[in-house]
Each structure stands twice: as structure tokens, then as C-alpha cells.
Symmetry: C2
Subunit: 187 residues, 2 copies
């Protein structure tokens, strides 16, 4: 039997701390508390400290989206991949009860620390969705526009849901976009 906590097991726990408190607000004491790991273990797994923890968390999130959302959008049948995107996103963000770590990091000066990862997370999402739309018959320009709007809209809905403490906002936003992507693009 292996140890209770390997490095990979602890990353989702750290992710939740960063998600709730932001980078600056996530003190090591908070992280030790919610992982049950002392500083010793933490710095054994992440010799680079908080910075490396955040980097691992971002890579973990990025990997999930790449696997569950982006790759299907690029490679699978467009309709199915887009349907899976709605499902995946709704699941991942717990129907609006959860916030986007990458989006949160993007807003303050934490962005500068992880600029490349953060930018890539969003541009790859937009590009993959655009590709799926194009393969689904959308003209390139409208596809790019719609993809950008959907990804931005999801972020905005998460902000709004949390700000107003009304998770229904998120579901309504997803529903609107779902409907719009099913129709032909507007002139």
C-alpha cells in the first residue's frame, strides 16, 4: 500500500485553496491546514514553494481542460464535442458554484507571474472551439467571433454568479450560448 498523499493527490486540494483565496491570500498555513501536510512535506513535493505549487495547480487545471474539452473540440465530431463542452464546463464549475482559477489569477498582478500559461489556457480554448464551429459549417470569421464570445461569456457568468451569489446566472448563460451555437451564425 502506498502513502496516503502523493504529490498528485495533493494538487487538487491546493487548487481549491488558490481558487477560494487567490494567490496572495493563499498562505502556507492555509495550505498546510487544508492538505493536512506540514511544511516539510509541502516543500519536499514543491521545492519552489508557493510559486511551484501554483504552477502545478495551473498545469493540473490546464491538463483537465486540454483532455476533456480542447482535444475533443479539435479532433472529434463538432456537435458531440461541443455538447461535451457544455457538460464538462457545467460539471467543472459546479454549475456556477465554483470559480475559474485561471480567470481569477488573470485579474490581479498574479497574471504577470504566470502570463504564458494563463494566456495559453484561453487562446487554446477559443481556437479549439472556433475550429469545431468551422468544421460544423460556420464561416471562419463568425466562428472566431462566436468562440471568443462564448469563452468570455463563461468567465463573465462565473464572476456574476459569485458576485450576486446566484448560481442560476451561470446556467442561464450556458443555455443561451448553447442555443446560439446551434443556430446558423447571424449576419
Amino acid at each position: 500500500m502506498r502513502t496516503l498523499y502523493e504529490r498528485d493527490d495533493v494538487i487538487p486540494l491546493i487548487a481549491e485553496v488558490f481558487r477560494e483565496h487567490g494567490f496572495e491570500g493563499s498562505s502556507l498555513s492555509r495550505i498546510t491546514e487544508s492538505t493536512g501536510l506540514g511544511k516539510g512535506s509541502l516543500y519536499h513535493f514543491f521545492p519552489g514553494g508557493k510559486d511551484e505549487m501554483a504552477r502545478a495547480v495551473l498545469a493540473h487545471v490546464d491538463g483537465w481542460f486540454e483532455r476533456e474539452i480542447y482535444t475533443p473540440l479539435r479532433d472529434a465530431a463538432p456537435d458531440g464535442a461541443i455538447a461535451q463542452m457544455w457538460r464538462g464546463v457545467d460539471d467543472y464549475f459546479r454549475s456556477g458554484r465554483r470559480v475559474c482559477l485561471v480567470g481569477a489569477f488573470a485579474l490581479d498582478d498574479t497574471r504577470d507571474r504566470f502570463a504564458a500559461v494563463i494566456a495559453s489556457y484561453f487562446t487554446r480554448w477559443i481556437d479549439a472551439l472556433r475550429d469545431a464551429l468551422v468544421r460544423g459549417g460556420w464561416p471562419a470569421a463568425q466562428a472566431a467571433d462566436a468562440a471568443e464570445e462564448v469563452v468570455a461569456g463563461i468567465q463573465g457568468a462565473l464572476v456574476l454568479a459569485r458576485a450576486t451569489n446566484d448560481t442560476a446566472v451561470f446556467g442561464r448563460a450556458l443555455g443561451r450560448f448553447q442555443l446560439r451555437l446551434q443556430q446558423r451564425p447571424p449576419v
Copy 2:
């Protein structure tokens, strides 16, 4: 001649600190640095410390939006008020170079500290825009839907613009919404 800094003069400076670093990241030393005021003066103006500074900043932002955006949306001719909203928002957020303080506070646990102010900022915006649309001839349900989508979309565009370091995203989002609000609501 009066002193260089009155309380009101310093609020926009503090606002910029909170905007760039978030609540947790805005240390008093950063605030003293970018205001030029020592702790003595700062605590003279804001006896409640950081909490009161943030509250003053939020009230300042809220006041600006109430005056420049919400009130016109509620009271003035809908078309003109909405046009002014696009102008005002583009100015305020410096065409995507600036981030929304209230949105940033909403994402981490800073929200819990200022929950009422944050929620009200967004709900009042949505409600005012919905009213303007209704007065402009939109059916109530579609107006509410569109208003929510626009306010969320603006937040999302700000996140995306900063995340990808591409301010053009913001302009494109505003353009899309502007166009859509000019048309009749979709079925």
C-alpha cells in the same frame, strides 16, 4: 490654499492599488507608496484601516457607475442612455486596459467582506439596463436576458483581455453587444 490631499483626492489612487493587486495583495506599504501618504495620514482619513479604504473605494466606483450609467439608463431616453453606457464603459475600463475592481473582489473570499456592495453593483446595473430596453420596446423576458448577458459579457471580456494581454478583445465584445441591442430581440 488647501492641503494637497484631501480624503477624496486619495481614493482614486488607492483604488488603482486595489485594482492591480487585489485586496490581499494591497499592503499598506504599497498604498503609502502610491499615495505618498504615511500611515499616520492614512489612518487619520480611514480609521478603519484597509477595510475602510476598500469600502471607500467601492463606494467611489459605485457612485461613478450610478451617476454615469445607471441613472441615465433608468431615467433618460433609452437609446441615448445605452449609447452613453457604451461610451462610459469603454472610457472607464480604458478600452480593456483596466480591470473591474468589483469583479476582481467578487472572485476570491474578499467577496464575503463586501458582499452587499458587490451584489448591488451588478444587480442595479442589470436592472437599469433591462428597464431601458423595456422602455425601448423589448419584451420584459428578453430584456432581462439581454441585460444579464451584456453585463456578464463585459466582465468576461475584461478577464479575457487581461488574460491574453490583448485589449482588442474588449472592443470587439462591446461592438457585438452594441449591435445586438440595436436589433429586435431574437426569438
